[in-house]
Structures are given as structure tokens and as C-alpha cells.
């Protein structure tokens, strides 16, 4: 799956978690802009993992702060 298709799918997974309807750009941050607490992040990561059948370990999560970084990481993790 290429970057655009991956981004589209991630946006769909984000939708129910994006309670305030914040517009997504590559620079949107999960903690700051979307105001997710650690529990929301955990649930969201599990949803992404199941959608793409991948593992995003805690170690990798520490490097992912923005929507754009997540798209890059998921694109790469799909191989």
C-alpha cells in the first residue's frame, strides 16, 4: 500500500478518536492538537495495528508524534 492509500486508511481509523473534529495535516500532533491522553493513544495504536496487521512497539511509538510520522512509519512497517 502506498503512502496516499495508507494515509487514507489511517484517517478513517482516526475519525472516531478525533472527538473535536480537528483537521488533519502531516504536522498534526496526537498529544497536542488532538489532545489524546495515554489511554486513548493505547486504544488508537491497537486499532492501527489490527487495521494494518502490524506491530508498533512502545519503542517505535516514542518516535511518532505527528500524523505525518505515523503515516511514514506504517507505510514502512507494511514492508
Amino acid at each position: 500500500m502506498d503512502r496516499a492509500a495508507t494515509a487514507q486508511k489511517i484517517a478513517e481509523v482516526i475519525e472516531p478518536f478525533n472527538k473535536k473534529g480537528v483537521a488533519l495535516t502531516d504536522a498534526t500532533t496526537f498529544a497536542g492538537d488532538l489532545e489524546w491522553d495515554s489511554l486513548t493513544v493505547m486504544d488508537f495504536v491497537a486499532a492501527i495495528e489490527d487495521e494494518f496487521d502490524i506491530i508498533i512497539s512502545m519503542n517505535q511509538q516514542a518516535e511518532i508524534e505527528t500524523y505525518g510520522q505515523l503515516i511514514d512509519a506504517v507505510t514502512k512497517l507494511q514492508g
Binding site: 491522553d37 489511554l39 493505547m42 491497537a46 506491530i55 512497539s57
Partner: protein, 399 residues
């Protein structure tokens, strides 16, 4: 002023706001005197203790106390050294022998605390390139052990067998795998479906570590924990436990049947680079562990206490962490931190101490009043406790 402490400002503010409401600081209680495993003097008044981990009431057992006093006289107040240098005394070996017998396992390793046992074993066996798959509600010592070891850390939803299996199957071919579970989860007092989870772990080629800190002494036919109760202890590679709960002192341990286990004594840094437990502690622990092997009557009474309190609180309208009593922990769910603190204080005024637990220690941002029962609570004390809960709950408007 901005400095390294600025990151704590939100917590400092939350704490100030709570104390400004006039409630007693729930995290600053002093036990002025301790009368028995179930009674102490707090703030000048006699208080029933319902928030200790003294499940089997061993802290005032006459044989345990005598063993500690004798060890103080014969071996002195401390070892002043590491287990691998000058810090292994006869008592440490007595303790490890007692553990091997208690669990029916080949190897036992005693650490200075339970926290260090998890920190040490997990960080040492799962290193860079290995994968740790763990329950999201795991204790802080497990998370810290994961972080220290540099393994890839993959959490799954609490007690969710399917979520665990999916993650195990996604791990790259050839990578080392460790599944970390707990027998009893200490915040809500619920148990894990270990039999099913361990089978899935083994089918996927993982080693299994189970923390049985909150089950030792009273769950399972011999008090070995939830894995024994569910008939899967033989499939557990490492059992982690503590002396600071049912055993009634302080210290931690790992027991295992792994043929190479003894090498851990040389490679496990939280074991090597700290002073060993004082002689009095290991002698009290060894005596207590041996007595726990024959504590069937106490186990039965503790279960009766737990079931009685659980049913009564549920019937009075309190919201509890589990449908039925699954352990000696009964978690009463509070609507928010402020009312939780008010209820905690109302109970303390009644003469009852429970644990106030709040995020981030709790799952799903809950505020909990955690009650832990003791085999030494009498049936009458349990009835007294129920009355205290009812009065306090009505006064605060929780029920």
C-alpha cells in the same frame, strides 16, 4: 521559575486543589502504632486496617517474630553487601530453599524487593531485538523492567486473549519472545485467564513470566497462586513473587525450572548491584513461607471474608471492580478523585483505613477505594467494616 521541576506543575496544582477542599491528605498517613495485622493507631485513634497487603496476617506470627529476633542476635542488623560478594548468609539460602519447596521448583533467587525482582528478571532475559508481549494493566515494576532491557515492548488489552495472540503472531520470525502476565491484577482485584493465555503463548513459541505477588499464600490448593489454581503452573517459565504481601516482610523472588537459571545471579544487575536483605528479614521470610505451606484453614477464612465483604458492598449499592470476589482485593469504584478522597476520609473518621488509588496507577483513569482483606480479620470485624462503609457512603452521597 522554570526548571527541571516544571514538568510536575500540573500534579502540584491538582494536589493543592484537592487539599484546599479541606480533606486529610490521603497520601501522608502515619501509622503511629500497629496493634496487630488488622488494627493500628492512626491520627490518635484505633483503626481497622483494610488496605494492607498483609493477606495472611503473618506480620505478628510468634514463630516469625522469634526467627527475626534470633537472626538479629546471631547475624547482626545487616549484610552490608551484594548477594554475589559478602551478602549471602545462611538465611538467604534458607529462604531460597523454602521457596523451592513451596513452589516445587528447582531454582529460587531472592531479591531485595519485589520491584527489583521484576526489574531484574525481565530486563535481563529480554534484551535488544527480543519482544515482550504484556498486559496493558501490568504493574509499574514490569513496565520499568521492559524499558530497562531495550526489548521491543508490545502491550495488549487487559486479559484479552485474542489481542495477545494477534500480537504474538505478528512478531518477526526468529525473534525471542517473552509473555508477561499477572495472576491477580492489584487495582481491580481481578484474575487472569492464565490457562488459556499461557497455552496461546506456548503455541507461539514464547517464554512465560507470571507475577503472582497478590495470590501467593491463599490462591491455589497449596497457595502457589492463580497458575496453580488453574492447573498450568508447570507451563510457567518464571514465577515472580514478593515477601511484602502474604509473607509479611519485604523482599522479592523468582522461581523457575529453567536448567540454566542459576546464571541469572551473575548477569542480573538489580540482583548484583544492591545490598542483600538483612538477616532478620530473610529469617522471618523463611519461617513465614514454611508456615504458609500448611495454612489451609487461614486460606479458607480469608476467602470467606472476601466473599462476605464483596457481597455486602454490592448489595448496599457500591460499584465494585469485579462481579464476584476473585481475590482478597475488593475495589470500590468512586465517581471522581474528589469524592473518592471525601469517602476515604469519611471511612478514616469511622476508624477504617483503605487504599485510595488514582490515575496513573489505575486502569481507565478510575479513582478506587481498594480494600484488601486479611485472614486475621474476624467475621465480626468484617460486619463492622460493612457498617462503616454504609454510613460513610451515605454521608458522602456515593450510595
Amino acid at each position: 521559575m522554570t526548571d527541571l521541576f516544571s514538568k510536575f506543575d500540573p500534579l502540584i496544582e491538582q494536589r493543592r486543589a484537592l487539599l484546599d477542599t479541606g480533606v486529610t491528605d490521603p497520601f501522608n498517613l502515619v501509622m503511629e502504632r500497629v496493634l496487630s495485622p488488622t488494627r493500628a493507631i492512626c491520627n490518635g485513634r484505633e483503626t481497622i486496617l483494610l488496605g494492607t497487603y498483609n493477606y495472611m496476617g503473618m506480620t505478628f506470627d510468634p514463630d516469625v517474630i522469634a526467627a527475626g529476633k534470633q537472626a538479629l542476635d546471631e547475624f547482626g542488623s545487616g549484610t552490608t553487601g551484594s548477594r554475589v560478594l559478602n551478602g549471602t548468609y545462611a538465611g538467604h539460602k534458607l529462604c531460597e530453599d523454602a521457596l523451592k519447596e513451596f513452589y516445587g521448583m528447582d531454582h529460587a533467587m531472592v531479591f531485595s524487593t519485589g520491584y527489583q525482582a521484576n526489574l531484574g528478571i525481565i530486563s535481563t532475559i529480554a534484551g535488544k531485538g527480543d519482544y515482550i508481549v504484556l498486559d496493558i494493566d501490568s504493574h509499574a515494576s514490569i513496565w520499568d523492567g521492559c524499558k530497562m532491557g531495550d526489548a521491543e515492548v508490545v502491550p495488549f488489552k487487559h486479559n484479552d486473549i485474542v489481542a495477545m495472540e494477534k500480537r504474538l503472531k505478528r512478531i518477526p520470525e526468529g525473534a525471542g519472545k517473552l509473555v508477561v502476565l499477572e495472576g491477580v491484577y492489584s487495582m481491580l482485584g481481578d484474575i487472569a485467564p492464565l490457562k488459556e493465555m499461557i497455552k496461546v503463548a506456548k503455541d507461539n513459541g514464547a517464554m512465560v513470566l507470571v507475577d503472582e505477588a497478590h495470590s501467593m499464600g491463599f490462591i491455589g490448593p497449596n497457595g502457589r497462586g492463580v497458575a496453580e489454581e488453574q492447573g498450568c503452573l508447570d507451563d510457567v517459565d518464571f514465577v515472580i513473587g514478593t515477601f511484602s504481601k502474604s509473607v509479611g516482610t519485604v523482599g522479592g523472588f523468582c522461581v523457575s525450572n529453567h536448567p540454566k537459571f542459576e546464571i541469572m545471579r551473575l548477569v542480573c544487575r538489580p540482583y548484583v548491584f544492591t545490598a542483600s536483605l538483612p538477616p532478620s528479614v530473610v529469617h522471618t521470610a523463611a519461617t513465614s513461607i514454611r508456615k504458609l505451606m500448611h495454612a489451609g484453614d487461614k486460606r479458607a477464612h480469608l476467602w470467606e471474608n472476601s466473599r462476605t465483604l464483596h457481597k455486602a458492598l454490592r448489595d448496599k449499592g457500591f460499584q465494585l471492580g469485579t462481579e464476584e470476589a476473585q481475590s482478597a482485593i475488593i475495589a470500590v469504584i468512586m465517581p471522581d478523585l474528589e469524592r473518592g478522597a471525601m469517602m476515604w476520609e469519611a471511612l478514616l473518621r469511622e476508624g477504617l483505613y483503605v487504599n485510595l488509588a488514582r490515575p496513573p496507577a489505575t486502569p481507565a483513569n478510575m479513582t478506587l477505594l481498594r480494600c484488601s482483606l486479611c485472614a486475621e480479620h474476624s467475621a465480626e470485624q468484617v460486619q463492622t467494616i460493612i457498617g462503616m462503609f454504609e454510613r460513610a457512603g451515605k454521608a458522602v452521597g456515593i450510595i
